[in-house]
Point group: C2
């Protein structure tokens, strides 16, 4: 990767540069809406449904929501990750060219992932003519291994724990016969700025879609490592569009929300939430953005049961496939009374709150759909 000291500053202008850089390599994914889901979101929850929650006995909030779904499930590899991977690798090749210091040693792109990041790096490296070496746990599904290989990457296997994975990465990185370049999944400015490009697109698409005179009020994204949330927050800098994060609460996977309360990043999470893309704690560089209230106006959590219901609603009504992590922002909009109450207070009289929801990906295990949804 490009040396972190030479990286562009974490600003909206840098996200715009990234968008220019990766255009032609990624899709401008569509923004979809559902009148039915808007009507569900704009109907107060029943007092009964709040029983047993922290909001029991409270009067249900009455937000009026218009939801715009930014559909990165239609992105290449089925998730937003190629934005960051292309930005990182293109920045690397630009820097090599500018310095005119192309090393004598052959370049190797190295990364590790059990999921979408592996395929994104494999795709970007392959398309830019760089050999990719991806470390994957040997228990990864054959489909994921085959997909990573199909982009031309060499797959190296490790044991299932993060420690075992990093050991294999370290071995690759220390091979001095190569110029080894590591691409981290979220904890790097180039990755963050690349992921943020989807926020710019959503702002432009909302302006095309919304009636004359109406504006996008806010965007809510899922939050795992925080690369995308921080990038989207930067993309909204100075626009007046608020940015929110959303997490699963299962087994404490809401590390970002809890860290904000404690004023300190939580560095370890061990959760088996069905939102498997969000089991990671927030990285240090994303945290530097997210923990600044000027950038992110709040982070909200939902239960796995609420994620199942939101996921079922999207599949049944919108006829698109999304992964459980991508149902988390909708679950917050539908079921989190703190969020809904805040929207009710913020929305003007007789107006609707226009909320963009980032659908991060569509790589759901099709054979497990019945256990992942609640209808």
């Amino acid at each position: 990767m490009a040396d972190i000291n030479t990286c562009p500053p974490l600003t909206r202008a840098s996200v715009q540069d990234a968008a220019h850089r990766i255009s032609g390599h990624v899709h401008r994914t569509p923004v979809l809406s559902s009148k039915y889901i808007d009507s569900v979101a704009s109907t107060p929850q029943s007092p009964e449904s709040l029983k047993g929650t922290e909001w029991e006995g409270q009067e249900p909030a009455k937000p009026r929501l218009c939801l715009l779904f930014k559909c990165e499930n239609f992105q290449r590899i089925g998730a937003f990750k190629p934005r960051g991977a292309f930005n990182a690798l293109l920045r690397f090749t630009e820097e090599q060219a500018r310095k005119n210091t192309a090393s004598e040693l052959p370049v190797r792109i190295i990364s590790h992932s059990s999921g979408n990041h592996a395929q994104a790096v494999a795709l970007a490296a392959g398309e830019l003519g760089l050999p990719a070496h991806i470390v994957m746990p040997s228990i990864s599904t054959p489909a994921k291994i085959a997909a990573t290989r199909s982009y031309g990457a060499e797959v190296h296997f490790s044991g299932p724990t993060p420690q075992e994975r990093l050991k294999v990465v370290d071995a690759l990185m220390s091979d001095t016969n190569f110029h080894n370049v590591f691409v981290p999944p979220y904890d790097h400015p180039d990755t963050i700025l690349g992921q943020g490009t989807l926020g710019l697109e959503l702002q432009n698409q909302a302006a095309e879609i919304l009636p004359e005179g109406e504006a996008l009020h806010a965007i809510m994204t899922p939050c795992g490592g925080g690369g995308m949330l921080s990038g989207v927050a930067l993309s909204c800098q100075g626009t007046g569009v608020k940015v929110f994060g959303s997490e699963p609460s299962q087994d404490g996977a809401d590390d970002c929300r809890r860290g904000l309360l404690e004023g300190k990043r939580i560095e370890k999470v061990s959760s088996l939430t069905i939102a498997d893309g969000l089991r990671t704690p927030v990285g240090a560089i994303p945290w530097s953005v997210i923990s600044d209230p000027k950038h992110v106006a709040g982070v909200f959590a939902v239960t796995d049961d609420q994620i199942r219901r939101a996921l079922g609603l999207v599949l049944q009504r919108m006829k698109i496939l999304i992964e459980p992590s991508s149902a988390v922002p909708l679950a917050v909009a539908l079921y989190n009374e703190d969020f809904r109450g805040m929207i009710e207070r913020e929305q003007g009289i007789d107006t609707t709150f226009n909320l963009g929801l980032v659908v991060s990906g569509g790589n759901i295990d099709l054979k497990r759909i019945p256990e992942l949804i609640e209808l």
Copy 2:
């Protein structure tokens, strides 16, 4: 319904009139494509995969296909049926107004269906301010009954057989306190012309999508009662775009294909194919169009296993939900060597055959996805 003798002729111009009539009531659904599925369709099948089929030992065909998916799964109620329902009911109200013979008796719209047609009639009647009475088998899923009621229709229950359903319909129709109007699911010119409007849209959208100088060569649709296939065929009249039908072969559900071979419509089918929207035999009026080789250039069949594979491919790669019936045209394009060989012969040297595939709907039973797909 409008008296059949006063119906517009079965021509492309009548489909254009229908499109004008129903615009504003139905969505112009998107046309999607998948480079990956194009590459699969443009790769010859392996000789091994033809073992045990009628093409065993034959050299696999080498078509080059560009597939354009017309996505009626994103249509209102999740399927194409509202096109015909709106056209039929709007024609009825226009005729009443023109004749100035609105009866003294209150109008009731009556239909029967266990599936998409019920909801389409309920939606159209509700939106046009007409009371709808829908006969459904009492074994219908609660979700379908609730959906039909949610459009304001009154649901009447019957036993599971077609005979039992028709008995309840007859009882409703013979109530002389009302002006009862029956809306058939496919065997009526107004329905056929309404469904055909998706063919016009696809022709226009293909012209927008395909590179300068390239044209849509053909459209393939699923074929159940034949209302949509015949309507799409009429929409292509005089354009040079060929039209093909596709059916499941399970338990002889390929009645249209077999009828064309025998030169005679097959009136009875009893099949439990997973393509449950295509278990119906072709109706008499659709047959009058489909059996004319000037309108429909061929009808092809695939097995349920092939439908499962095509369905899995769409869900996994395109990230959209479609019902099993909607995977039938793709299954023909991927696995039917008669069709593929014909395309190979028809396509020009070094050119690609641009084929529109109609995705009829997305109302798949989410809880049954694992048994409905093969990955």
